[in-house]
Amino acid sequence: MYSYTEFDEAFVRERVAQFRAQVERRIDGSLTEDEFKPLRLMNGLYLQLHAYMLRVAVPYGTLNSRQMNQLAYIAETWDKGYGHFTTRQNIQYNWPLLKDVPDMLDALADVGMHAIQTSGNTIRNVTADHFAGAAADEIEDPRPYAELLRQWSTDHPEFQFLPRKFKIAVTGAPNDRAVVKAHDIGLEIVKNDAGETGFRVLVGGGLGRTPMIGKVIRDFLPKDDLLPYCEAIVSVYNLLGRRDNKYKARIKITVHENGLDEFKAQVEDRFALLRGQFGGADQQLLAEIKAQFARPDLPARDLSGFTTAYDNDPVFRAWVDTNVAEHAVDGYALLTISLKAHGETPGDATAEQMREMAALAAEYSSDELRISHEQNVILPHVAKSDLPAIHARLQQHGLATANIGLISDIIACPGMDYCALATARSIPVAQQIATRFDELKMEHDIGPLKIKISGCINACGHHHVGHIGILGLDRAGVENYQITLGGDGTEDAAIGTRTGPGFAYDQIVPAIETLVETYLDERESPDETFLDTYKRVGMAPFKAALYPAEEKSRAA
């Protein structure tokens, strides 16, 4: 994986020194709060409900054990001993003091990490498939391109004060695990008829108040054109995007209001103007970056230990069935460690858990870890024969929950418990759903089912693309939860449809139970997933089950 060059190192140190001075200038009054705000946001520092919040980038979700250990150290030294992994492959600390933040940034720089551009109206941390470089279905590892984009977008002088935030995601596999269709720019590595690889470029996707699926702006972009083409898109957006209304400022609205054809025409014009700016230095850098992402040496291993445990230990077997995915190399596996223990806060990890995961990565996974946008941690290169030992270690640290992709593997935004924007609680709802279905012992029978919860209309919990989406709103001072069904964040991306009127806080868990019971009644076989059943039978039976009184009154 990528390690900082001298240039990266010097850049990050200089940036920390600048921020240290900015904090001092805010305190002495030479910067107004209005002026300080975008500067702290560019360095990942938010002001939340109770305190500042520092959001640290994990570029394309990749970490080594030294970095994970440092995240644990920061949590213990300057926060309350834990961190929260987010839906954009970042980690957030919810309790830092302003005066400590420059020291925290220095501690990050010590291990080649930063919090640059994790917030503010700029190009945010570039995300990628969390299985990159290890998945069996991959055309090419997307992370070198994500790293190239990181370097290009970092401190880009034209794009630090855009109309609104700007998010880019890259996938190298046809099975989209990076939700590229819900990003401002989505990049899919594809092969054309001539057998060359390039990018399919999507633009104007996003969730939030106005969910939209990204539109194809270029079917096939030669790989060398990546930077000038992205620069053309953002440059056109910077002038064309609306600045009069925050809720209409994202590129999805710009594309929608101007039309894809007009937007594309302007982008192609700008691209022609910009192409000559990139004369090959970027490609040379890319080659150096690629070398660093070469897959580690994974020697053949004997499988008998794994097979014995799998055949004889039902707990181990259930865990393998849900949490292990197919690796590109025989005898190896992609192991997802669930941060969704039933009843705990989704995505939270204690310093002790971070250290244990770091130790396991060093010992068993070529020193590599990944953070997924579904708020779990992945060991990407694990020999199957080591899985029984790893499972035993994880059990000791409360990390062996076997629920990846199941009903309790919930994405939830921080909600009203932490966020100043939220209109309803989301974490307690996630905890109650997980606890309820754990009590019922139905989780494995129900099978793959993605529940996503947002505590306000801004949709940080990605509820639009949940198979079951839950949106918490404030209705005259009372929390009210709307349900959507049929959302999908994969290559078949779809926005969920609302079931009808919302539910009160104490009715939302029973409503989810009703939906699940309806699915179990309707499905043709245990192999038919919730989403497949919904696609086959539609909304009607779910609606009838959720709103029985209404159905009757209509019949009467």
Partner: protein, 392 residues
């Protein structure tokens, strides 16, 4: 305890209340004031001015049915009227009462709306004081947003005040500092009055409110040049207060508007050496133009050779369009002098240079607040630049 606590003498109740809530904070005082029997029927009087949104937000959280009295003197800024509608809707306030002066009296005393020119006190009295007095008649108490830091007669403000033995005045924010107000607005993402960013930290009626310069008192823009500091709705010893009391400071001297500016280059600060005018982009004969941030740089394409200076306007440092405009002008082949003009901050100097600007023009206020050394710290803009590594 009397049977009807609100009927006890105002002075006694005020003394009790100040004693009881001495150690409470703003929100606690307000929350209790809304329900304390000794306070009685209460209304919030709000001007929907620069800082009003704080109390409005607190009320909306505690009890959004609390009556809110908004005195529309019919001399207010358009922006205030719109802001009143927007904020009331956003916060879900259910009982906002827009109160206007008696039309009969207006016809009689200020038929042409010019009374403020000849006798501002009489104008305030007619449009504000009398209007409020009749609106407050049914209430035992009212809430104001006055704060000690605002100085003058407000420096010794208590949470609860006796208003002429008639009514109680509640000042929940009495002990708040400027930063508390700002933090509260930021933390709760509250919408600001649109005139604040245009230099009006305190907002009253349009004819009698002017901008305030850096370093002046916040209320210096109210009745500027007149020996008047309050409109008269706040009483002392039963009489409306309008003048500076003897022995207190606060007389504001109007400052001349300045047009001086500073040019920043890698060498630091200098005076502007460009003596000509900056023309509008449509002026095809000009040697120097000022491009607004919403202009299309294409309009200059045919005469890039003849231009000696192009200045790009930055109405706000958060408006980043100027950076893209500069880069495009350079890509189009413009090689003359390129200037970023307006609200550009020291932290953006390297960005400005990297996209092709030669210099930055800022006003004296900004140059005072962010002195030369802060700009020189970013003068090494060629160092640590990812773009120069990628763009060869």
């Amino acid at each position: 305890m009397p049977l009807d606590p609100a009927s006890a003498p105002v002075a006694d109740r005020v003394r009790d209340l100040n004693e009881r809530y001495r150690h409470h904070g703003a929100t606690a005082v307000l929350e209790r004031a809304l329900s304390d029997a000794q306070v009685g029927n209460i209304a919030l009087v709000s001007s929907f001015g620069a800082e009003s949104v704080v109390l409005l937000h607190m009320i909306s959280v505690m009890d959004r049915t609390t009556p809110v009295l908004f005195i529309d003197t019919q001399m207010l800024f358009e922006e205030t009227l719109q802001y009143q509608l927007d904020v009331s809707e956003k916060l879900g306030l259910t009982d906002v009462r827009s109160i206007r002066p008696d039309p009969e009296k207006i016809r009689e005393l200020d038929r042409f709306g010019a009374l403020h020119l000849s006798d501002p006190d009489a104008c305030c009295d007619l449009r504000k004081t009398q209007t409020l007095a009749s609106a407050l008649a049914p209430f035992d108490a009212w809430i104001t947003g006055r704060k000690r830091f605002q100085g003058g007669q407000r420096a010794a403000l208590e949470f609860f005040e006796n208003e002429g033995d008639i009514r109680i005045k509640v000042n929940p924010l009495a002990h708040w500092a400027k930063d508390d107000v700002r933090d509260y607005m930021i933390n709760n993402r509250l919408p600001r009055h649109p005139l604040v960013s245009q230099g009006y930290p305190s907002i009253g009626c349009k004819p009698c409110t002017s901008k305030v310069a850096e370093g002046e008192d916040e209320r210096a823009g109210r009745w500027r040049g007149k020996d008047k500091v309050e409109c008269g709705i706040h009483f002392i010893n039963g009489k409306p207060v309008r003048r500076v009391a003897e022995g207190t400071e606060g007389e504001a001297t109007p400052q001349e508007e300045t047009t001086m500016s500073v040019i920043v280059t890698d060498g630091g600060f200098a005076a502007d050496d460009w003596n000509g005018e900056l023309a509008a982009p449509e002026d095809t004969g000009a040697a120097a133009v000022l491009l607004p941030s919403d202009a299309d740089p294409e309009v200059l394409r045919d005469r890039l050779d003849q231009l000696k200076l192009v200045a790009v306007d930055f109405p706000s440092f958060a408006d980043g369009r100027g950076f893209t405009i500069a880069r495009r002008l350079r890509l189009m082949g413009y090689t003359g002098r390129l200037r970023a003009k307006g609200h550009v901050i020291a932290d953006q100097y390297a960005m400005a240079r990297r996209v092709g600007f030669d210099e930055v023009e800022i006003d004296l206020d900004l140059a005072t607040r962010q002195p030369e050394d802060q700009w020189l710290r970013r003068a090494e803009w060629k160092a640590h630049d990812y773009q120069s590594r990628l763009r060869a």
